[in-house]
């Protein structure tokens, strides 16, 4: 089982180079006493570094997130409709009935699981070494823009605003996709 310092080093290596992550954990081991202060140090450093990455590349990451909506929509369309079209084309519809329950789980798996995971990898690949910042921006920005559009439309049409808060289940899979990319492509020193 890996010890706390190894885990801390892995966490920091997600947002900085392996060399700097190692030196920072060394500083933490030397400069802190106790488990709570150790993890408080590591988490604050990781969050600050990720926030700095995001802020320093904010416009690039926003552009990347907006761009990524297109392949995301295409992937959803392909993965949801292509198998059914193929089944119908091959005459398999008589053997495979898409009940409402099956349809629900198919859509849930594709829209909130498979596609976000693939998109996490795509966004991470194009993030120029800022994988976690890019994944978080892509997870949060589209939902927030949608919420702003809903609010603006409701205000413009003088209708009662029914806030439909975005639920970020897919954020977990986007982040998982980005992490899976990062695990094989560490940031160069």
């Amino acid at each position: 089982m890996p010890n706390a310092a190894t885990v801390a080093e892995w966490i920091l290596s997600l947002v900085t180079t392996q060399e700097r992550a190692s030196a920072t954990v060394g500083d933490c081991l030397e400069g802190t006493r106790g488990t709570v202060s150790f993890w408080w140090f590591i988490l604050r450093t990781a969050i600050s570094t990720c926030a700095r990455d995001t802020w320093d590349s904010r416009w690039r990451l926003c552009r990347l997130s907006v761009w990524a909506l297109v392949p995301r929509a295409l992937l959803v369309a392909i993965l949801l409709h292509a198998p059914m079209m193929l089944i119908n084309y091959l005459g398999g519809a008589a053997y495979f009935t898409l009940t409402p329950a099956r349809e629900y789980w198919l859509e849930a798996a594709v829209i909130t699981g498979i596609v976000p995971f693939i998109m996490g990898r795509i966004v991470a690949r194009r993030s120029d070494g800022r994988e976690i910042a890019a994944a978080l921006t892509f997870a949060i920005l589209p939902g927030t823009i949608g919420l702003l559009i809903d609010t603006a439309l409701a205000l413009f049409s003088h209708q009662t605003l029914k806030l439909n808060f975005p639920v970020y289940y897919d954020a977990i899979f986007i982040l998982a996709g980005a992490l899976s990319w990062r695990a094989r492509h560490p940031r160069p020193a």
Binding site: E19, R20, A23, T24, G26, D27, C28, R44, A46, T49
Partner: protein
Amino acid sequence: MAPLGEFEQIVLLAILRLGEDAYGVTIRQEIAACTDREPAPGALYTTLDRLEEKGLVKSHMGDPTPQRGGRAKRYLTVTPSGIQAVARAQRSFQRLLKGLKLPGVAHA
């Protein structure tokens, strides 16, 4: 080049004061001793990264030590352009303070 922020100046001055023994732990201790405030670790490391990206400091890795779980220290030194930048910023402060009498303060 963009002017240095207050914390960037503090970090550069701390590294200059420490000389060859400037790394994360000693820089934090030096800042705490001289300014009476403990810098947040995240703020310190992101500032060090930013200063290195600007070419104002450079870093090199030392030898691993058992006290640090076999991890090396990342030593920092201020580059000539870093010295120029901090000197320029300090001169601005000096010009602003020159001839100014601060109530209740012996020397401005």
